[in-house]
Every structure is written in C-alpha cells, then in structure tokens.
Amino acid sequence: MSALNDAMQLSAIDWAIMLVYFLFVLGIGFMLKRSIKTSSDFFLSGRSIPAWVAGLAFMSANLGAQEVIGMAASGAKYGMATSHFYWVGAIPAMVFLGVFMMPFYYGSRARSVPEYLRLRFDEKTRGFNAISFAAMTIVSSGISMYAMGLLLNLLLGWNFSVSMWACAMIVLAYILVGGLSSAIYNEVLQFFLIVFGFLPLVLLALYDIGGWSGLQAGLARVATSQGYAAGAWSESWRFMGTTTSNPMGVEWFGMAMGLGFVLSFGYWCTDFLIIQRAMAAESMSAARRTPLIATLPKMLFPFLVIVPGMIAIALTHRAGAGGFVLPSKPDGTLNYDLVIPVMLGHYFPNGLLGLGLTALIASFMSGMAGNVTAFNTVWTNDIYEPYIKRGASDAHYLWVGRAATVVGIVLSLLAAYLVAQFNNIMDVLQLVFAFINAPLFATFLLGMFWKRANGHGAFTGLVAGTLAASVHHGLTLPAHALVGIKGGWLAVVHLYPSEMAQNFWTAIFAWSTCFAVTIAVSLATRRPPLEDLAGLVYSQTPRLLDADDAWYRRPALLGALALAAVVALNLLFW
C-alpha cells in the first residue's frame, strides 16, 4: 500500500468540512436518544418514519461506497450499458415491491424479512434465511470497511487501521444511541451530501470533455480502438444483440432475464437491509410509497456515478498529453476502481475536495450503517429470540440489540482484516452467498401469490436452488478465466463470453430450479391451512383501497409513472 504519486494535500477548509459532517452525524444520533424506549423503537423506529425520509434512506442504504466506486468503474469499462443496473436491474423491481409485495411485508407486522418467512412458511425456512443473511451482512460490511481503509490510505496516506476504526466507531456511536432511526435519518443526510459532493465533479468533467457531444466523440474513440462499433460505449441497448458486439459480453435475453428479473427482483424485493427502511415507515401507505419514492433518485443516479466513469475513460483515450488520465495497476491494466477518487483530486480545488471526500466517506458510512442495523435486528429477532432465549422482557431484547450492534461492528472489522490477509476466503464466501441469494425471489413470489406453497416446498426449493447455482457455476467458466473461484471446478462443459454473462445465467438456473422444486414439493405435501395465511398471501388478504387518497399518494399510479419514466430513459439512450 503506497500513496499515489500526487497524494492529495488537504488544507484547513477540507478538514473543517469533514469535521462539520462528523459532528452532525453524531448529533443526529444523540438527538434521537430520548425516542428509544422499546426494542421496537430501536429495531423499527417505532414504525414512525415519514414516506419521503424512508424513501431516501431506502435509496441511500443501497448507496454504499462500493456502489459509487463500482458503478463508476463499470461506466469506464462498459459505458452507458451500465445504466441497465439501474433502469433494468432496479426500477421495475422497486415498483413491484411497492405496489405488490409491501402489503404483505408491512401488513403481516413481521419485524424482518426472515420473520415473514416464518409466518408464511415455517421455522426452518426462516432459520436458513436468517443465518445466511446475518453472515452475509458481516462479510459485506467487512469488505466495505477494508475498501475504505485501503482507499483513504492510498489517497491521503492515512493509516489503514486508524481510518477504518475511526469511521466504524462513529457509525457504532450513532446507531447505539439512536437505533434504526438514527441510521435512517443519517442516510438522508448522507444522500444529500453524496449528491452535492459528486454533482460538481460531473459538471466540471463534462465541461472539460466538451459537453455531451464531446463525450460521445471521445467514447467513439474508446470503442473503435478496442474493435467495437463506435456507439458501443454510448448506447445502452443497441449493441446487446449478440455477446460479441458489446464490452459486457452479454446478450439481451441474459440481460433482461438474469439481471432484469432474477437478480434485481431477488435483491430489491427480498433483501432485508433495504426493506427494513420501508418496514419502519409510519403507515401502510408510507411503506408502499417508500420504494416508489426511491425510484426517482435511483433513475437519475447513473448521471452522477456512471457518467464520471465514461468521461474518465474518454479522457484517458484522448489524444495529446496533459489533462486527466486514469492510473494503471502494477500489471499495466487501467485501475478502474480509482475513477471517482482520482477525478476528485484532479478537478476539485481545496474546499470542494473536502466536500467530495466527505461525500465518499459518507457513502461508506451509510453502507456500513445499513449492514449493521439489518444485522442487529435479524440477530436479535430471528436468531437470538427463537434459538437462544425465548420469552425474555422487551428491555432484555433491546439490550441484546445494542450488544449485537457492538459485536456486529467488531466482527466486520475482523472480517476486514481477514480480507486484507486472505483475499480468497472472502471471494469464496461471497460466491456462496450469491448461490444462496439467487433462488430467493422464487420463494417469495410463490409465498405471496400462491396459497398452495408450503414450508417443506419453500425450504427444499431454496436448498435445491442454491445447489443448482453451485453446480452451474462448477460446470461453466468465463472465457480467458482460470478454473477455480471463477467456475469450472467440477468440469468445464460451457464457456461464457464474460463473467457477467455467467453470473446472470447462474441466477436464471437457480431461480428456475427453486421455482419448480417449490411447486413440486408443495403439491406432494400437505396443503397449508388457509386460516394461517390471512394477510400473508394475495388471495387471503383484503384488497387495499387507495382510490380515496390524493393521486400522488396512490402506489399504483406512482409505480406506473416510474415505469413510464424508465421506459423513456431506455429509449432516449437506446
């Protein structure tokens, strides 16, 4: 780990801005201290969060630094097609969650996604989901802390451990005193900070490259120099006909089914980390509007995080010396992960530099806080209460939740050191979690919309789907990859043009297997008693009437507007 050649020099104003941010983040936690009296206040904000706050927090909890840094990197690697992760891989699923699924999550009064699975199916299905989810939050929080420590060390020469521990302790403090409310309110603050920190970067860089037309011309050079058609970096769908005509190596069907259906619905409609924000909303109507409100910033975010990556790669290929160039890794390839940090250093004078770095740190913190609040809830409600100590007082579970917050952060820090030492272990763990997550949406879809699905079916379906994902991964390999962590560890029977294509197809196989096995096993075993399914399944739940609400509060209308807007965006950047 060594600093870049031109490590950023911070001045007093940069430090002052960072300090102001830290003080406000902690201040919000302490202002909320009085409102935490019961475990419900701590884990669910006492279900009192207004829709717009929950909506921005929903968006922000997903906006970890890996999202910001990773999407900018993908923007440089793949160009405008990266927008599929937003306009195909997020918005439709968010609309589905708000319009169709939220009534069951919120209406069942479950405190977590695993708890919904227990109400709808049985204990073993909940246990499987709760334990894998809790482990996954720790690992992803650890990986994110590691990335932050590494980045601050590289950019500013700060000590790896000190920067990691300092941020972790701030997050710990504000969650410990203010619980989920504190995380949610801070996520809203962090959301605005990220927008106002990165927006001037986009404006300055876009001005530098000569506006949108200058960017198109630059990207045409990038595409043709690598043997693609001139528009391969600046169009989102036009070159998705075959896997060889776009840099992602994915064709439209794998994109639409793998990302647009299985992966995106699997994440946005079942991941407790984000759904917790909607569960904390003040009413059913607010809970349903939470993901719908989040669609608006979500569909605009490509301009904030992907466009900088596109500009960076276009500038790097621009003829002539001087100006912005992406740094290379030791092996000579471009270091795409440094798009945002290096651009901050290049374009921002002191002052704005402090704001940009604070925005980057804020995105790390919001991601970390999301993981920690989801972990302490699932640990306490879905692991500790059913398996370790039943029927204790509410004060006891509140105490356990606070203890789980401390333990969760310490475990993430340990995980971060583990990543630093043994990168491969974390890659394997992430792969295993991907296998477990891939089939999840089939379980929820059948659970919410097919009353015949039962616990045995759901559990066997999940296990079969996870196995299908691992077998598919074990039998296939992306082109130019080595057998091992990338796949092919059973035998190589199929080669995919890229790792992304392999991921999408792994998800498609896992989902289909889980869907089929859940149906087959449910039909072969006992029908669940109908009276247990009230409020949990579509056919056993009274319709929600929202026709009396003002139009801007009706989920179906908001959802239709979001879908129309996202179709327009896809066509505009076709």
Binding site: L32, L189, G351, L355
Partner: protein, 71 residues
C-alpha cells in the same frame, strides 16, 4: 418522532456552504486547470448555502403548520 431531519440537514449545508464561500473568496479563483478563472468553491458554496436555508425554511413552515393545527 419529534426530530424533523430537515433542520439538521439545513444547518449542515448552510454551514458547509458558508465555509466554502468564505474559503473560496479568500483564496481566490484557481488560475489553472479546467475551472480556470471560475471560483468553483465560492459558487458551489453559494448553492449549498441556498439549499440549506431552503431546508430550514421548509422545516419551519412545517413546524408552524403543526402548531396551528393543534389549536
């Protein structure tokens, strides 16, 4: 929940905006680079300051509405 998040957001952005305006005006505009001649710190600081004040006004309007609806 008694906390209106717009209040801390408003104060934070107003404060950071003011810092940027003061810092930008006292150090002058950068004379090289893309932003040559444009005092980006001062201009962006002004944007943040306006946003912060706007948030504070919204929070205040909300608070007076709540108070009058209680009477």
């Amino acid at each position: 929940m008694e906390l209106d998040i717009r209040t801390p957001i408003g104060w934070m952005f107003a404060l950071i905006g003011a810092l940027l305006v003061i810092g930008g005006l006292s150090s002058g505009a950068p004379t090289e680079g893309v932003a040559a001649g444009l005092n980006v710190d001062a201009w962006w600081g002004a944007v943040l300051l306006l946003f912060g004040v706007g948030m504070l006004l919204l929070a205040r309007r909300h608070a007076t509405q709540m108070r009058s609806s209680r009477h």
